[in-house]
């Protein structure tokens, strides 16, 4: 504890931008990556991502041409990497909506600097996630009639009592709404890009996308309400999406899956993994594009605090599952949890607990919350841990259920691994294209938050 007396400024939220930042500074800083030729760092990152994307494409081709027999899924473990990856990627996406919607409703102004990154990540993560259940159908073009209710020649409707069908609706709604929300936020910034553009083609494209936005206050008054309403509906939506994903497991009666805490537990885990990914991407991008003065260490600190909170919630869920499995007195429940911690997949379980619960405890220390070099290993480990969480849930519950005669082991193949690794290529390729062509920080919102304060101070 320092002896310095606490000032009122210490108690107030940290300033969003350094003192004396003007609107033009913000415009220039955000527009720089869009208006200048990409740096070497960008090209290196982009080539690497494209390489991973190539791996993804090759493995998609193998899967579609030869069938999912190329995967490691078997009987009893009918859900393998594909579903693990689905849940993992959907979870990553949740941070974006959380930051753009929930933190907006709580009027956390610091979110402004990272909201756009995070929303874009949501979209790309959902896109990555969707690949897996679609590929899991083997021949997706034949799967439409049992996923989407339309009058088909079989005269059958989809099964609305199936959580898998809820997924179709939840994920497609999530993707659509996230896109619309993201685009809505982009409109004023696209107008800025249009007005700054020198090349007529750029001007035309940004002009077209900005839908003729002219900053009219008659439009702003509706726009703000639309944005608020979007935030209000995206909040329960983001809770519902991972809850519906959790229903895929919890609505069954497989021991270890059928437990009522799954919906909020999955949501907390999703936020943890999503924040870890946002932090990772933000740390890299602010370095790549010199945005350290707009995305400050104080921003990172708040994000790390939220990560710590969600890590504790996830730890709570692990513990309560374990406790209630014992408390329930149900033989199968007890067994499945002992098997997780001490069975053949114990390494997965302890990786999960270590990465998701123990490692984030370092974030109690201010140094780890503010130093990018110290937090990067943590956020990477959290992502590893969150992937293992889904692996543990899916594989350990399936590989040994009620009858020992039906027990087995799961061995992923190279195609499984290729799809997982390759999906990161899809994700990072899209992220890098996004930072190259679209405003990565919500410029108008940031200017509003910064300049209004000045105007207000002037007024007093």
């Amino acid at each position: 504890m320092s002896a310095r007396p606490v000032t009122t400024e210490d108690l107030l939220p940290f300033p969003l931008v350094p003192e004396g930042t003007t609107a033009k500074d913000i415009d220039d800083a955000v527009s720089l990556p869009m208006e200048s030729f990409p740096t070497r760092r960008w090209w290196i990152a982009f080539s690497f991502s494209l390489g991973l994307l190539l791996i993804f494409s090759v493995n998609v081709t193998i899967t579609v041409s030869q069938g999912i027999g190329t995967w490691g899924v078997n009987n009893p473990v009918g859900w393998g990497f594909a579903i693990v990856n689905l849940v993992f990627w959907i979870g990553i996406g949740h941070a974006g909506t959380l930051i753009s919607a929930i933190l907006f409703l709580f009027r956390q102004h610091w979110r402004t600097a990272i909201a756009r990154f995070a929303e874009a990540m949501t979209l790309f993560a959902v896109l990555c996630a969707v690949q897996f259940p679609v590929l899991h159908t083997g021949r997706p073009w034949l799967a439409i009639y049992w996923m989407v209710p339309y009058p088909n020649h079989n005269n059958l409707w989809t099964n609305f009592r199936s959580p898998l069908e809820w997924d179709v609706f939840a994920i497609s709604t999530y993707g659509t709404v996230s896109f619309l929300f993201w685009f809505l936020g982009l409109i004023p910034d696209l107008a800025l890009a249009r007005d700054r553009a020198k090349h007529p083609l750029r001007k035309f494209i940004y002009g077209l996308l900005s839908l003729g936005w002219n900053g009219s206050n008659r439009a702003w008054s509706h726009y703000e309400r639309a944005y608020g309403l979007f935030a209000a509906i995206a909040t329960p939506l983001v809770l519902s999406v991972h809850s519906v994903i959790s229903f895929d497991f919890a609505a069954s009666i497989v021991p270890g899956w059928h437990t009522t805490i799954f919906p909020p537990y999955f949501v907390a885990g999703a936020i943890l993994s999503g924040f870890a990914m946002v932090t990772l991407v933000v740390v890299l991008l602010r370095k790549m594009f010199n945005l350290q003065h707009l995305v400050t260490e104080s921003h990172l600190e708040v994000m790390n605090k939220i990560m710590l909170a969600t890590a504790l919630m996830v730890g709570y869920a692990y513990a309560s599952e374990f406790f209630v499995a014992w408390y329930s007195g149900v033989l199968y429940e007890k067994y499945v949890f002992l098997n997780r911690a001490m069975g053949p997949y114990a390494w997965g379980y302890w990786s999960m607990v270590t990465c998701n619960v123990f490692v984030p405890q370092l974030l109690w220390f201010k140094k780890f919350r503010r130093n990018p070099w110290l937090m990067v290993p943590i956020v990477i480990l959290v992502n590893v841990g969150m992937w293992f969480e889904r692996f543990v849930i899916i594989v350990t519950s399936l590989h040994r259920d009620y009858l020992p005669a039906a027990w087995g082991m799961y061995h992923p193949t190279w195609v499984d691994a290729g799809l997982l690794v390759g999906s990161f290529g899809l994700f990072f390729t899209l992220v890098l294209l996004f930072v190259r062509f679209l405003p990565t920080i919500a410029v108008s919102e940031l200017k509003g938050a910064v300049l209004q304060k000045h105007a207000g101070a002037h007024h007093e």
Binding site: V6, L11, A251, H258, T260, P264, V324, Y327, G329
Partner: protein, 402 residues
């Protein structure tokens, strides 16, 4: 600006209110004593019901206070004292918990916790297996430790805030100190609420289990906390103790928004629990719900969804509603009724298996504890300002706009 803040140091003139509260408390105590002598078991259920309700209100207030310090929130400074006033009553709630210890230690006369019944446990492998957790000593230990920490935490947050009222030096340090303790309290809060839910509600049907029950308990606690805070704010505002220019519609909107959001959160948790158990259809889980669809209980189950979620949802949907003191007060009353209904629905089917029963023995403890708490609250506001007038962030809070 500073002129309008000063008006808040007005005190509540609650002489009439406190007399009425004392009368209600006296009637309640009388009814409780009658109930105790006539049917100890029924009395113990009624006491537990009333206790859990007022516990929700006090703990909800404490949680709200800690949450504001945890998030470093500014808007809430002007209304935080109202939450503190509820948290400040934690010590008397701890006294209300003493009879529950008695119900446990004298299990043979009260039959509140079925797992205490030796005949019940004998020959039941599952219940016997739970003995390491479900036993009198461990239960009492949990109740005492939880209560002790809650009382200490309330004392910590409330006295520090009251100390700031003098506007002396070191106020900033006080706020900083409360902020640095808030995370630790939150950790404890999460665990203690969960296990209180398990101990005092879930274990009434000792075979039943639900991992989400702790979250369900929390949802009820926070909604109740918000409802009583809003009711307190609207009441003090209507009496002119809180200035309507200081506690503005902007602040009311934030409170209303939270009540709206957490009513929906409750619905989300309640639905998740119900749907998953309905879907899984395992006998050890569904029995709890089938008990709650027997006879008149079905109606109560349906009413619960309507009172706790449907009505608050539609009444608070519009922005205008969230800023209207009348509407907020109405929804708060409904939310408070909802919590009473919810606890009733969780607790009572274990006793009245054929259908809901509600008469004077149920109302006795409710009136007694309610009367005592209202009496204490009026005294609190007669002694202390209704607003944290010495909080270093008060000016910023008054200037808060949507």
């Amino acid at each position: 600006m500073s002129g309008s803040i000063n008006t808040a140091s007005k005190r509540l003139d609650g002489a009439k209110l406190s007399t009425n509260a004392a009368i209600v408390a006296a009637i309640g105590l009388l009814l409780s004593a009658l109930g105790l002598t006539m049917d100890p078991q029924r009395f113990s259920y009624a006491w537990l019901w009333a206790y859990l309700f007022f516990w929700s209100a006090a703990l909800g207030g404490l949680f709200f206070v800690a949450l504001q310090h945890l998030t470093g929130s500014i808007w809430s400074v002007v209304i935080r004292r109202v939450a503190e006033s509820f948290a400040a009553q934690m010590w008397v709630v701890a006294l209300f918990a003493v009879p529950i210890l008695a119900f446990a230690w004298f299990g043979d006369s009260f039959h509140l916790f079925p797992w205490l019944d030796v005949h019940h446990v004998e020959g039941d492998e599952v219940l016997a297996g739970k003995q390491p957790y479900l036993n009198v000593v461990f239960l009492s230990l949990r109740i005492v430790v939880f209560m002790g920490v809650w009382v200490l935490a309330s004392h910590f947050f409330v006295t520090r805030s009251l100390a700031q009222d003098a506007k002396g030096a070191g106020r900033n340090e006080g706020t900083k100190k409360m902020r640095s303790w808030a995370p630790a309290f939150m950790l404890f809060f999460g665990l203690s609420v969960t296990f209180t839910g398990f101990d005092l509600m879930m274990s009434l049907d000792p075979h039943w289990f639900s991992t989400i029950f702790g979250v369900y308990t929390f949802a009820g606690v926070f909604v109740t906390g918000l409802a009583v805070i809003i009711l307190g704010v609207v009441f003090l505002r209507s009496r002119g103790v809180l200035d309507a220019d200081v506690v503005r519609p902007d602040h009311l909107h934030s409170l209303g928004g939270l009540l709206f959001a957490f009513s929906c959160f409750w619905a989300y948790i309640a639905f998740s629990q119900y749907m998953l158990i309905w879907y899984g259809h395992l006998p050890e889980e569904t029995s709890w719900y089938t008990d709650r669809f027997v006879g008149g209980w079905g109606t109560v189950s349906g009413a619960l969804a309507i009172v706790r979620w449907v009505i608050p949802f539609f009444l608070l949907l519009s922005r205008k509603a969230k800023t209207s003191p009348r509407r907020l007060a109405l929804v708060s009353v409904i939310a408070i009724f909802g919590q009473l209904l919810d606890l009733y629905w969780v607790i009572m089917p274990q006793l009245h298996t054929n259908g809901p029963v509600l008469s004077w023995p149920e109302l006795g403890p409710l009136l007694a504890m309610g009367g005592i708490l209202v009496w204490l609250l009026t005294r609190f506001f007669a002694r202390h300002p209704a607003m944290a007038v010495g909080d270093p962030l008060l000016t910023q809070s008054v200037e808060y706009r949507l």
